[in-house]
Symmetry: C2
Subunit: 707 residues, 2 copies
Amino acid sequence: MLLGIQTLTAQKDYKLWLQYNKVTNSKILNEYQSAIKGIHAFGKSETIAIANKELQQGLSGLLGHEINSSTNENTTNTLVLGTVNQLSTVLQQNTKKETASINNEGFVIKTIQSGNKKQILITAKTDTGVLYGVFHFLKLLQTNQSIENLAITDSPRINIRMLNHWDNLDRTVERGYAGFSLWNWQKLPEFIDQRYIDYARANASIGINGTVINNVNANALILTPQYLEKVEALAKVFRPYGIKVYLTARFSAPIEIGKLKTADPYDVEVQKWWKDKAAEIYARIPDFGGFLVKANSEGQPGPQNYGRNHVDGANMLADAVAPFGGIVMWRAFVYSEHDADDRAKQAYSEFVPYDGKFRDNVIVQVKNGAIDFQPREPFHPMFGAMPKTPLMMEFQVTQEYLGFSTHLVYLPKLYQEVLESDTYSKGKGSTVAKIIDGSLDNHKITGIAGVANIGNDLNWTGHPFAQANWYGFGRLAWNPYEDSKTIAEDWLRMTFSNEEKFIKPVKEMMLESREAVVNYMTPLGLHHIMDTGHHYGPGPWVSNLSRPEWNPTYYHKADKNGIGFDRSSTGSNATAQYAPEVAKMFDNTATCPEKDLLWFHHLSWDYKLKNGETLWNSLALKYQEGVNQVAAMNTTWNTMGNYVDEVPFKEVQMLLNIQHKEAKWWRDACLLYFQQYSGKELPKGVEKPTQTLSYFKSLKFPFAPGN
Amino acid sequence: MLLGIQTLTAQKDYKLWLQYNKVTNSKILNEYQSAIKGIHAFGKSETIAIANKELQQGLSGLLGHEINSSTNENTTNTLVLGTVNQLSTVLQQNTKKETASINNEGFVIKTIQSGNKKQILITAKTDTGVLYGVFHFLKLLQTNQSIENLAITDSPRINIRMLNHWDNLDRTVERGYAGFSLWNWQKLPEFIDQRYIDYARANASIGINGTVINNVNANALILTPQYLEKVEALAKVFRPYGIKVYLTARFSAPIEIGKLKTADPYDVEVQKWWKDKAAEIYARIPDFGGFLVKANSEGQPGPQNYGRNHVDGANMLADAVAPFGGIVMWRAFVYSEHDADDRAKQAYSEFVPYDGKFRDNVIVQVKNGAIDFQPREPFHPMFGAMPKTPLMMEFQVTQEYLGFSTHLVYLPKLYQEVLESDTYSKGKGSTVAKIIDGSLDNHKITGIAGVANIGNDLNWTGHPFAQANWYGFGRLAWNPYEDSKTIAEDWLRMTFSNEEKFIKPVKEMMLESREAVVNYMTPLGLHHIMDTGHHYGPGPWVSNLSRPEWNPTYYHKADKNGIGFDRSSTGSNATAQYAPEVAKMFDNTATCPEKDLLWFHHLSWDYKLKNGETLWNSLALKYQEGVNQVAAMNTTWNTMGNYVDEVPFKEVQMLLNIQHKEAKWWRDACLLYFQQYSGKELPKGVEKPTQTLSYFKSLKFPFAPGN
């Protein structure tokens, strides 16, 4: 047994994927040690100092001895870093082609040989680009890649790569499962918690360049001087890490904190109030990013309160921040209790007519699916439907509907599925990725947001593997075409071990985990059958909520005749919101992917799936498959004790045990409930339920987090 | 600059006072290395394994090389540990006298020389005693004391040494300023957070042996099977560390979760319900400690709701837990809005008549002062007034009224002042310490509770120096006669450095810090003039609360004639609640200590203090002195950068800056307010206020923590 592991490891988790343990492969270590004898940094900005310190810290750990950070720039085997315009003329010439090919946040990592002198150069057009290059270089070493002859150029494909924190001013976090908010408002602005710095560092390491620090269900107080002073302090911490601060704007703020009688966007005083407010914010935070707005959605105030529309609201705010280079991210997550139409259709119906009517500095933020961050949803029909408007992706990193921070679910697999989806908006190959990176419709402002899974838990994310979702979101924000497999492997190597015997099975486990959660929660296109309010555990029976579209029964529509939501042309016709090629595919049960079947179709319990089994049997077997997959995850992990420190090993073990138990709970509760309608026996291979339906219905979770 | 300090140190704080850095003094290191070559543990219990691991970990760190933990018991320079009955006969004989002198939780640390063989023995009557001995031994090394010829016997003076966590089931912490509750109810019982283990370890290291894990403003749900299963899991973690779990009992639980129509303690069904509940709890947790109850206090339900009294309520619960060896801690923190009498008198008036009427397994828990955890209060008059009833001390470790976790206030100095106070209940020398350790009145059950300042902040307590308050509370709980100076010095050495140039000034700073906070908040016996609700910052003007005794104006009674609460025989006559010697002293302005003057007397602004200054001038100068003291703390700390790691150094620096700013805020706000009544100029030496009174009155703290 290792000494002192108990306290040391809790601390190790805190370092996330930025573990800089000495390289264990001696051949590789040797290569690294020979190639890197010192560091020379051109430039003296705070960002360059941070990059330099990171290299020193990282290399000293990885190479096992201290690396001098002020080596002569001409010494061989020196790692040289700096922005292009700070480099020596020789180095500038040497990388002219590469630097011409990168954008403002991109970087070049290049081995430069001249005579007997061999150096590795990390350069970029901006300080932040250099910092990104440094983290990329360290990743090469952390993942044991060769650094013999480097010629890397890389640039982010999306401009705004951001986290959305649904953090309230009382430090509770809506849908937060990793403790509470990082932001200690009481001690700000004077007290800078080390967490803020470490948060910025972790984000910079994966290229995240923006953060909305407060909840979309906003409190106007954040816009008062008392809080802006605190926001300013955070912005100052994040700035050298290339991260801009954004805030959510409560639409009724002019009334609540401005003492106006209205928040009507047509009111001149209201317009002036927001212009003054923007000026006040920019006076404090010159690089303030802008506003994120949830308006006329789930009870939040908005322009419709005054008979105006989303364009009116968004453009008013956009005009206020435009003089300072700010943007407005206007959320499209709207559905109304007064609209009897299929909830899945409402955002499209409401927003698509506005295409082209928003100001240039407005971007519309759209969730990946038309309902709400389910284990699986078809891509949102708005993607591809508003070519004249930049659309920003909103993914959820926190696992509101996917087992909180208790279940191991590797989300980049989900993100990839969405990003790869073909909208056919400009013919085949019009993927969601191409829409959000602006390449399909030539947008200048592009963005992607992840609803953060970060809290003040020691390990930041609650579940050790949830760190991979933060990491993976950042990687896909940088490059939405990357394979989630590569990302999983990098994360495992950086976080735990480079041993193949560990990487291979655990990577497989991660990659399968998303399909597992779909199977044991919502197979075959089922959705939103989680228990009410907290969304933890199954609640397909819930039917008594005030708004019909909040009830699970609204979504599964199980009855004696079958199950599923008919969104085809015979039903709500939501399929018609997609491009004709896609609409046709979803509309027809023969071509609709089985994974989305019950999302689009209400089918008889006896409907035959491609494998020849009835829908009922297939559904039951899918639930069982989900349970089996989690059992297999347990089995895999239990053999990994040699590759992982004791504390995270045990933590994951305990969590996988809970996940296994809860996968069974999902299976049993859902099948017992649906069985009332199907009236059929469980097929062979599906285990008998461990409890009765009434037992499952009786379960209550009075203080479930995030609710 | 040290490498990588930024992430490493945030983690260092997490280790609290259990830092095991290599001893830097080479002479001392040499002595230790020679004396300790290995460890031999007798016994195989979980507790002994923990003790053994702690020694291994501690010694390996302190001595700078790994220490073998399975050395032959007969080898020289081996550290031997085990309970008396596990030792070899020779060792038993050798320590017979010492072990006879200790109690069940005490320990013996003794150098045993026989021929050429020299060993250090750590033994005790119980496993927990051995664990305490191990931590004591490690402390000797951490504080660089000689281990040449050890002959230490030590036993705790108080039986129940506990923390009270005012933690709610939603993880908010009432009066908590170090983040949120450690207890992650959602993931319990299956997921054991490493924090739980580290919490138990830290407590064991200072002899804390009990914990009430939920708020005294209780939620009955904690007593349902759903939560008891989780409590059971925590109890299992804490058990090998010698820590018992206790719960708060909501008096109305039989109604709320038991579906009874009443919670009347005379009702047979109610009595049965509690008996059954106790049996249910003990079936899960055989060593469950018992219940802590806040009844008929600040709106909590209690026996008085049914026309019964505190004895009726406490005894009913006591009867329920008695068969299992449990106890009931019944809080005496009562005051009524319907009682026009001085709030300071009410607990005494209500409880003293019940002396001798409680069951043997009831202990009455009394706050240190008669109001509520003020920066300074005279000792509570109940101490000494109920000789037939064991009284338990309740100190507040969390700084509800003392600047949250933002102000550096070393509280053991406050605790010591209370413990040393002479009640004269059995003549001179009848100190509070002698009452609570049971020695004065021969009580078998004795106890002391500290309202915890622990949360899920990385460093546990928010302010790095607040760790000293947790530590110091534990030390005084073990030995209420210990000098807070010694404790401060030990803590500094264990946590930061053994350098004299660091220890001396920083110890002075700590020891002065409590008087500083009294001076800048509530000098000369003022009290409870904090702002409403959250209790952060000054609010002497607040007079509009529904209950008169919640208003600061109730306490300071400033008017044109003077200031102070007349509790003398000409006023509320609270002085009469003390023993005659004490009553006489407090009653007379000539003998009343000036530090308590305005607690007991309403005096003219022109009243002359012993120094010849008027009361007004003295008050103003005291406020200024507090500010000056904090300025001096800043000056001292600013020169300590060489002895402390970068992160805690900066953290304390930032916090002391805030404290200095807020000390001025207190001074200015209070003096401007009181000046309205005194009508006098500020004396020479008192700085001019930086803002107006109306500015100070306008300050609002909408999401102050802990409220």
